[in-house]
């Protein structure tokens, strides 16, 4: 046996698995993440799929990647750059190598750097061959994974092609060794997944061990790493993606309001997974309707709300455009409705699989006439849960459509969720009007919330008319000048009143000073990490992250007035910044990135520092 290799303790590591779409990289990444999380690390992940379903194998357009950041401290981002990169073929290498941190660990499946592989990846010669240059920049390990797996599985009675498919578990095992992780979680997973298919269980388990043992026995590795457990609050934990968390939040909202949830949608990237998730949970009284288009889906959701369910619809940019007319009807009839926009790169069809924050102005202003609608945003994968619950709460409490903004990045990424106890989540009180007491006025308003009463069709004596035309308090169509003015103002006042139900705005850092950074939506992890980093050097910078964008929090004006400079970083060309400048008449500055990708912590630190 060899002398034991040194195990270095580190705080955190960012690793990325990449390979062909068919190589199972998402699965591999998820396994690694689960194992790390169960081992006690905080985690944050970022999957990156190709836009094509399955582009020709081995080409760069078919490359799929999965990055995970795991740490003994709290992590909020999947990391700017991987410390270690596992590339399963030449195309994956080509697409990802640029991102690898200088000095990082590069593990390649050298079996997939043959002539044909290279040609498919668009290489004239083998980039690994110039090993010296490569070795100067990275710690390179060429591992003939395909052959090693085939060798390890030689006694398993499977077709060679099927054996080859186990190479991702080899890679996984190898990385478990490098980062000193237990195999047990993945072993269990394999057993469960392939229940009844013993050969597959055997093959994958063997591949996993083979990878692990390869690290252990072959002498090529310089070091292993150990990452201590994170100090974590006691409790139940799991990994969750934004879309799953969002689905759970909706279910919870409906359950806590004692309502059925009707989710009507039309598939679109990156929102479809919410549908997939919800469709699996019909035992919560969840009805899912896959409509003929986005217009139909919001109409169906609105009809359901009218009938007394919690109607929800979701889409991404192009589909949200199509829903704008119906949002107007929802707000003028004052029915509860949640509209989820999982933003992606625009304009038009844009970059369907990439992230962006560029639908904010659409959400705020994309309706004819004066059509105020509350707009809130989720800040992280886990936060999608609370944001969805909160959107439901506002919709139901104020009888209004609410737009919930998520984005492609947090929708598909995951982080660690400290699972709440369902009993601890507040009920959302919903009271249907059930009896006629005097004259029934459908648009009579609650004194405080300014919301109208909800009446289910089927309620005796409370028949009434809803219409998209302007109406008076009794619901009669009314073109009267003063009535219209009053109604427009009342609808605005109702939306403004939502701000009264917000918690105090949290400030990360001092309450006054030089620079205030204002963020919103899915950039939280990166911005917060960056600001925290800068705060280690100076307390001249503070940070506010907005959940509520319309109406803005009532205390935001005061906060802003305490700072010399306001900086608004966004993944667009400057949208929230317009709202801030308009509302507070302050010369707020913009930091923009519009590359279909999240911010990086490092670039944020650099750019924010330039304001100090």
């Amino acid at each position: 046996m060899n002398a034991p290799i040194e195990t270095i303790s580190i705080d955190n590591a960012v690793i990325r698995f990449c390979g062909d779409s068919g190589d199972g990289m998402q699965l591999t990444g998820n396994q690694f993440t689960d194992t790390s999380a169960i081992a006690g690390n905080d985690i944050s992940t970022f999957p990156d799929f190709p836009a094509e379903i399955r582009a020709p194998a081995g080409t760069t357009s078919g490359v799929s990647g999965f990055q995970v950041n795991f740490s003994s401290n709290a992590v909020e981002t999947p990391g700017d750059q991987p410390d270690a990169l596992v590339a399963m073929n030449a195309a994956a290498y080509k697409i990802n190598i640029e991102d690898l941190k200088k000095g990082g660990v590069l593990i390649v499946n050298s079996d997939s750097f043959g002539k044909i592989d290279l040609r498919k990846a668009g290489y004239e010669s083998n980039p690994l061959e110039d090993n010296i240059a490569l070795n100067e920049e990275y710690e390179v390990y060429e591992v003939p994974m395909t052959s090693l797996v085939q060798e390890a599985l030689k006694d398993v009675e499977l077709k060679p092609a099927n054996k080859k498919r186990c190479k991702n578990f080899f890679a996984l095992g190898l990385m478990y060794w490098v980062y000193d992780r237990p195999l047990s979680h993945s072993e269990d997973w394999v057993k469960n997944k392939f229940k009844g298919k013993d050969l597959l269980i055997e093959a994958n388990t063997k591949a996993l061990h083979a990878g692990y043992n390869y690290g252990e026995t072959c002498e090529i590795f310089n070091s292993r790493f150990n990452i201590e457990k994170t100090e974590m609050e006691k409790g139940l934990y799991r990994q969750v993606t934004g879309n799953t968390a969002l689905a759970y939040g909706l279910i919870t909202g409906a359950q806590k309001a004692n309502l059925d949830l009707l989710y009507a949608t039309y598939p679109i990237t990156p929102a479809s997974d919410i549908l997939h998730e919800l469709a699996a949970h019909k035992n919560f009284g969840v009805k899912t309707v896959q409509a003929e288009d986005e217009i139909a889906s919001i109409g169906i959701a609105l009809g359901a709300s009218y009938a007394g369910s919690l109607g929800v619809t979701a889409s991404s940019g192009p589909g949200i455009c199509l829903k704008t007319e119906f949002m107007g009807l929802a707000l003028i009839t004052e029915l509860p409705l949640v509209i989820v926009d999982v933003q992606r790169g625009g304009p038009s069809t844009g970059l369907p699989t990439k992230t962006e924050q560029s639908d904010l102005l659409l959400a705020l202003y994309g309706r004819n006439g004066e059509g105020p609608v509350p707009v809130i945003a989720a800040k992280s994968p886990v936060d999608c849960f609370e944001a969805a619950y909160e959107a439901s709460r506002i919709a139901l409490e104020f009888m209004t459509p609410v737009i919930l903004l998520s984005d492609g990045y947090i929708a598909n990424s995951s982080d660690l969720w400290k699972i709440p106890n369902a009993e601890d989540i507040a009920d959302i009180p919903v009271k249907f009007k059930t009896e006629l007491d005097g004259q029934y006025l459908p648009y009579k308003r609650d004194a405080e919330k300014l919301s109208r009463e909800w009446v289910k069709p089927g309620t005796p004596d409370l028949q009434h008319l809803l219409t998209g035309l302007e109406k008076d308090e009794a619901g009669n169509i009314c073109y009267d000048a003063k009535n219209h003015s009053d109604m427009c103002k009342a609808r605005q006042a109702k939306v403004d009143a939502v701000a009264k139900t917000y918690p105090k705005t949290e400030i990360y850092g001092k309450g006054s000073g030089k620079v205030l950074v204002i963020g919103w939506g899915g950039t939280f992890g990166n911005l917060h990490t960056a600001v925290t980093e800068i705060q280690k050097e100076t307390d001249d910078i503070s940070y506010v992250h907005l959940r509520y964008i319309n109406p803005l929090p009532n205390d935001l004006g005061d906060i802003i007035s305490q700072f010399d400079e306001i900086v608004v970083p966004e993944l667009n060309l400057g949208q929230l910044v317009k709202v801030i400048r308009d509302k507070y008449v302050v010369d707020a500055k913009s930091i923009n990135k519009i590359e279909g990708k999240p911010f990086k912590v490092a670039e944020m630190i650099e750019q924010l520092k330039s304001f100090l």
């Binding site: 689960d34 169960i38 974590m232 609050e233 006691k234 409790g235 139940l236 934990y237 799991r238 969750v240 759970y248 279910i251 919870t252 359950q255 059925d260 009707l262 009507a264 949970h281 019909k282 035992n283 919560f284 009284g285 009805k287 309707v289 409509a291 003929e292 217009i295 139909a296 109409g299 169906i300 609105l302 009809g303 359901a304 009218y306 009938a307 007394g308 369910s309 109607g311 007319e325 119906f326 009807l329 009839t333 699972i419 369902a422 989540i425 069709p457 089927g458 309620t459 005796p460 004596d461 409370l462 028949q463 009434h464 008319l465 809803l466 219409t467 998209g468 035309l469 009669n476 169509i477």
Partner: protein, 335 residues
């Protein structure tokens, strides 16, 4: 739909107190009266009646009914109605739409309501014109029609709503006309009693912009010869003297004198036969215009199936528990 005891209603019980604002002489008045009469005769609880419409003269309909009413967006009534019915299958859902509302902007939704077999009644007020926007040609207008938007004659060939309904697998398809209250009431009742999507095309006169559009079919003078009143199981006989009948010649229906054919040669009306329904929907030119129930066939409703699936899953898995949901399959404890 839960079966409820029949209630005693008068037609006027379904009258809202609002002033009716259609043009004097508009066919919509008679349709309104017929719907109210049908509802009264059906005696289903009026608070369970939900009338959803789009936008158009016809779509003002819910304002005049003392039922639940949703005057929604142009072309989109079937979507709102789908949401209502799926959320609460106990409600009786009525959709009121116009030829522009239902077959121009709303063509796709209506087609999908047909194929899904949403349990509702769809009343198409076909006046072959855009009334509310003051008289442009509609998708059911005849080609070469001169209107405000087609001073040199329109170019588009018309669509036949019945054909589209049958092609889209609508389970109940009928036709009636505004100047025959009794026929309307019977048709509307049959539509309501059918479980599934019940599509009724109503020939409706727009006195202002398309007056007399249906005169050549339904005017008393010509009606007997130019319409074919359908009765399930009965031979297709028509004419002022009941002297004409329909006979199949290969693929083609033709008109014959009753005296020239033997009884078994006469086509019999079978609303369950899709080919027969397709044929009838297509009757034109020399053939009489069919009136009454053209198609009626039973198939599962969309709202029924959505709700049944939920019930099934609840039965199988038990009512969902949030804590279990959150935990999922891969949670672990830190302690």
């Amino acid at each position: 739909m839960t079966e409820l005891p029949k209630r005693d209603y008068k037609k006027s019980d379904f009258n809202s107190s609002r002033d009716v604002k259609w043009c004097p002489g508009c066919g919509d008045y008679a349709i309104l009266a017929a719907v109210q009469k049908a509802m009264a005769e059906l005696g289903r609880p009026k608070e369970n009646q939900v009338v959803v419409s789009g936008i158009g003269c016809s779509s003002r309909f819910p304002a005049y009914m003392d039922t639940f009413g949703f005057h929604s967006l142009h072309g989109r009534a079937p979507t709102v109605a789908t949401g209502v019915k799926v959320a609460n299958p106990d409600l009786d859902v009525w959709i009121v739409t116009g030829d522009g509302d239902g077959f121009s902007i709303g063509g796709n939704h209506i087609m999908h309501a047909f194929r899904r077999n949403l349990d509702c009644v769809i009343l198409l007020f076909n006046n072959r014109i855009y009334g509310l926007t003051k008289g442009q040609y509609s998708p059911t207008s005849e080609t070469e029609k001169v209107t405000k938007s087609s001073p040199y004659g329109s170019i588009d060939a018309p669509i036949n709503p019945l054909q589209v309904a049958i092609a889209s697998n609508a389970s109940f398809v009928a036709r009636t006309y505004d100047i025959n209250p009794k026929h309307m009431v019977e048709t509307f009742k049959a539509a309501r009693l059918h479980k599934g999507v019940s599509f009724v095309e109503i020939f409706q006169n727009c006195v202002i912009f398309n007056d007399g559009a249906f005169d050549d079919v339904i005017d008393r003078k010509v009606r007997a010869d130019s319409t074919l009143e359908l009765q399930a199981g009965e031979p297709m006989i028509f004419g002022a003297e009941k002297e004409k009948c329909i006979v199949l010649d290969g693929f083609n229906p033709i008109v014959k004198n009753l005296s020239d054919v033997s009884e078994d040669q006469i086509a019999k009306h079978d609303p369950e036969n899709v080919h027969a329904s397709q044929l009838l929907a297509h009757f034109a030119n020399e053939l009489p215009t069919p009136m009454g129930v053209i198609r009626k066939v039973d198939r599962p409703t969309y709202d029924g199936a959505v709700n049944a699936q939920v019930d099934e899953v609840v039965n199988k898995k038990g009512k969902g528990s949030l804590n279990e949901l959150f935990r999922g399959k891969a949670a672990w404890t830190v302690d």
